[in-house]
Amino acid sequence: MKKEISFILNGNEVSLSVSSDEKLLEVLRNTLGITSPKYSCGKGECGACTVLLDGKTVRSCIMLAVEADKSEIVTLEGFQKNGLTNIQKVFLKHNAFQCGFCAPGFILSTDELLRENPEPNEEEIREALAGNLCRCTGYKNIIEAVEEMVKIRKEGAEQ
């Protein structure tokens, strides 16, 4: 069964017809050409498909596209549309990723963490990012980068 839906995607209004069983990830990738969210586990276990929906991270591989009707969706493509963000710059400086497949998910999860808890300690960082799996890095540089983001914020270096 097809259903008409519309949402704001990275600042632009999108209207389209989707099957009732289509996942948001499939619609983003296959219909709308948004490739930063990745298919990895298909069960919401790994966080590679993470997107922001009304400012909250969701697992787009298990969310039905029809559930996203009337929402505002931001993917990495939209998140960086005014250039590299501070989150990305600090991840870059720390060589935080290796194969990079999990990076879009980590970047958006970090954004959510820092909006909800601007000064997390190391344990809170680990807790917040525990839903994003990375098989390459051992997480050390990712965690250290987020700690530095917090430090930069504290020092008021970030506008």
Partner: protein, 780 residues
């Protein structure tokens, strides 16, 4: 040695910006337009059965289905070292999940439905899921035609048995060695199957065009090897197969050789249409080649002074239903199962045993993690039996430069003792720490490791370098950037050799039509082998540059050098010719003619000293490995005696990189490899039911480490004893970093509570049950 400007300095990875901006295109990110078709695979529900017939008629009738294929259409044998599997099975399935038939349709949903409509008539056969039982004389034969399969000359299949390969080592006289020992210990250790769990699943998009050419877009570690295997299997010209590599979202050996990509050839039935096959996570568990299971029997003799006199090591590998690639894991570990120690008398039998479990092949560490678990565990036990500190015991026996390894070749330069000392220092070996919680114990565990690249004796690498107008260069190669930092490393070699800043170097992913040959990105051999090819290519370009300058300015080439993107002259500091002035256009003479032309360079490398043809009964007489990389690792754990939960508080690992090209990236390999190893130490295990069905093919039931599992303190340490034939002295370390983890944690548990775990992983449940059982007796 001349001062290095790029090599040996830290840098941001050259591929990272495209990865953190989502610019990097993984294979599933390529757009193929509205003609893209989708493939689904019908899997076998039986672990072992004869295929009596397949009826595909109902699937073919389904609207949207464009093609159906079975083993009748694609029976060709395929395999890296032993052709023991077909593209699609013809008469027999050998494990649950084996691909029996495929359907190509206009949507994935229709392709799935097509698969459901295929009827397969199976005659179920007895199945074997344990390698020890598979060796019984009356065991059902999994490959009755083993003797007919094409095989490389250095493997020893045993037709009439479920044994795909045996590697034997006989050095000295082990019986005499055990007689000389003051103490002899025998034990058995087991390692289960685990999976790579790369975040990106396997994927291929295949197109057969009306020009009779195949193009594959693959997530792969082996573009050229895949091209070769497909061309050979189908008996078509190599130039009619093209493999284009996307970014790879994690490999760890799982994307080496060929697995599901072979199914792409079915696209020949739908010319002109690209066909996509992407594994689901569950298919990934069954069909991306797991890590072998191992049952190891070890006997070791030592003197009371702590010298190892003899080692007998039997390795029984469960390679699953196919050993086309996995046989080399068995082979490589057969040569090396002494670990990094000098042992005068050695007997090793390493056996590849077929079972009806999923096929196993390369996984980071290539078998070395598995045998080190038993070996490094028994070394701790034996040291404690003779009342010697386990670290001191390792120091006494650690291999030195020039010591003969088990197959009789002298050990390459390496810093085994320095690695031991640096790790012992970092972990504060010998300093006892008490937990504040009376239910918990804090203890330390130590292990050493070594590994050699396992590859054919003539594995080749090649590189092209070309300049652009602004003196930037493209380094063209087919070594795969799979996250390990290969592009950055190769860019640095070229930059250093050509006197360029790193920013001037671009390295791209390969396309077998355009990029020079590379055997495979495996074995942690690329820094060394491909690095040597990059340097040869850079030197050829440099020679051409100097030649042009010599002809234009009559300067002697021997005094010219490259620095700051300029040609400089040792004899005349005022001579500074920017490369950008001539590397494309050439140099203009006073007569307005031009000398030179676009500068290029090429380089090819194979190790010319290796020889895989050893005596099958003794393993002597060849030179099967290029060199070993050595290292050590240690952990401090806190063990909860009531719950069995282990928390790793601190880890230290040191590896001898020869020369760390990018020290921070090398340390990142240590950290990443440690954490991947930690998963296998603490909880990773593929659970099968009695029929070979996987019970945990997902990340909820098969856990991999998260941010919460990572030690707060991690000390990656680099040792640099140069490899004489390595680029700037470098050798690989990436796989090695996983190897010490399982035994180091197991040794820490034994040190903490006297519980010796002989079957990894060290799950909380296992520890709590054994520690709190009535039969528990502390041991070494």
């Amino acid at each position: 040695m001349k001062k290095l400007n790029v090599v040996g300095h830290d840098a941001v990875r050259i591929d990272l910006k495209e990865k953190i901006t989502g610019t990097a295109k993984y294979t599933d990110d390529f757009a193929f337009g509205p003609n893209l078709l989708h493939m689904s695979v019908l899997s076998s529900p039986h672990a072992h059965a004869e295929i009596m017939g397949i009826d595909t008629s109902e699937a073919e009738k389904l609207p949207g289905v464009r093609a159906v294929a079975t083993g009748k259409d694609f029976p060709q044998k395929i395999g890296l070292y032993l052709k023991d599997k077909s593209i699609l099975p013809v008469d027999r399935v050998r494990y649950i999940g084996e691909q029996v038939a495929v359907v190509i349709a206009t949507s994935k949903k229709i392709a799935d439905e097509g698969c459901r409509r295929i009827k397969v008539d199976y005659k179920v056969l007895p199945s074997i899921h344990n390698q020890m039982k598979a060796m019984d004389a009356d065991a059902v034969l999994i490959h009755p035609n083993l003797g007919d399969y094409e095989v490389v000359p250095w493997l020893n299949p045993q037709p009439g048995r479920n044994i795909s390969h045996i590697r034997k080592i006989r050095k000295g006289d082990t019986e005499k060695g055990f007689e000389e020992a003051d103490f002899v210990l025998e034990d058995e250790y087991a390692v289960p199957h685990v999976v790579h769990a790369a975040l990106e699943p396997h994927i291929t998009v295949a197109l057969y065009d009306y020009n009779e050419r195949f193009t594959f877009w693959n997530s792969t570690q082996s573009p050229h090897t895949q091209r070769n295997m497909i061309a050979e299997a189908l008996k078509i010209p190599h130039q009619n197969v093209r493999v284009v590599a996307g970014s790879v979202g994690g490999g760890f050996g799982g994307k080496a050789g060929i697995s599901m990509e072979a199914l792409g050839v079915v696209c020949r039935k739908v010319p002109g249409f690209p066909v996509k096959l992407r594994w689901s996570r569950e298919e990934e568990f069954y069909n991306s080649s797991q890590r072998q299971g191992l049952q190891a029997q070890i006997k070791i003799g030592v003197t009371k002074e702590g010298k190892i006199t003899a080692l007998k090591h039997k390795l029984y590998w469960d390679v699953g239903a196919s050993a086309e690639y996995g046989n080399n894991v068995v082979n490589a570990t057969g040569f090396s199962a002494t670990g990094p120690y000098y042992i005068p008398n050695v007997s090793i039998d390493s056996l590849a045993v077929y079972t009806n479990n999923p096929p196993c092949a390369a996984y980071r560490g290539f078998g070395y993690s598995e045998f080190h678990f038993g070996l490094e565990s028994i070394l701790d036990s034996v040291a404690k039996h003779i009342k010697m500190d386990p670290v001191e015991f390792r120091r006494k026996n650690a291999i030195k430069v020039g010591d003969k390894v088990a197959y009789g070749v002298p050990m390459n330069p390496s810093g085994m003792h320095e690695c031991i000392d640096r790790v012992a220092e970092a972990i504060e070996w010998g300093k006892e720490v008490e937990s504040k919680d009376p239910d918990k114990v804090i203890a330390k565990g130590f292990a050493c490791a070594w590994k050699a690249p396992a590859m054919p004796a003539n594995a080749g690498s090649s590189v092209f370098i070309k300049f652009s107008e602004d003196a930037s260069i493209n380094v063209e190669l087919s070594g795969m950037e799979i996250g390990q930092g290969l592009h950055t490393t190769m860019a640095k070699f070229a930059a250093e050799e050509l006197g360029l800043p790193l920013e001037k170097v671009r390295v791209e992913l390969p396309d077998t039509d355009r990029s020079p040959y590379e055997w495979q990105t495996v074995a942690s051999h690329e820094t060394w082998a491909l690095g040597n090819a990059v340097i040869l290519a850079a030197r050829e370009a440099k020679e051409r540059i100097f030649d042009v300058v010599h002809r234009a300015y009559f300067l002697e080439k021997e005094f010219l050098y490259l620095e700051d993107a300029k040609v400089k002259n040792e004899l005349d500091p005022t001579f500074q010719l920017p490369l950008k002035d001539f590397v494309i256009s050439g140099i203009e003479t006073e007569h307005h003619t031009w000398i030179g032309g676009p500068i290029t360079g090429s380089g090819s490398y194979i190790p010319e000293f290796t020889n895989a043809m050893v005596d099958p009964e003794t393993g002597q007489g060849g030179h099967p490995n290029v060199h070993y990389t050595v290292g050590a690792g240690a952990v401090t754990i806190e063990l909860d005696k009531k719950t069995g939960v282990i928390r790793v508080l601190h880890m230290a690992e040191a590896f001898d990189a020869g020369k760390a090209i990018n020290p921070d990236l090398a340390k990142d390999q240590i950290v990443g490899g440690f954490v991947q190893g930690l998963g296998t130490a603490l909880y990773e295990e593929v659970h099968f039911d009695k029929d070979g069905k996987i019970l945990n093919p997902n990340f909820t039931d098969y856990k991999i480490p998260t941010t919460l599992d990572v030690p707060y303190k991690m000390d990656p340490i680099l040792v640099e004893v140069p490899q004489p034939d390595g680029p700037f002295g470098a050798r690989g370390i990436s796989e090695h970093t996983m190897i010490p983890v399982m035994p180091a944690v197991a040794n820490a548990v034994a040190n903490a509570v006297g519980l010796r775990i002989r079957d990894i992983p060290l799950t909380a449940e296992k520890i709590a049950l054994r520690l709190n059982s009535k039969e528990f007796k502390p041991e070494y």
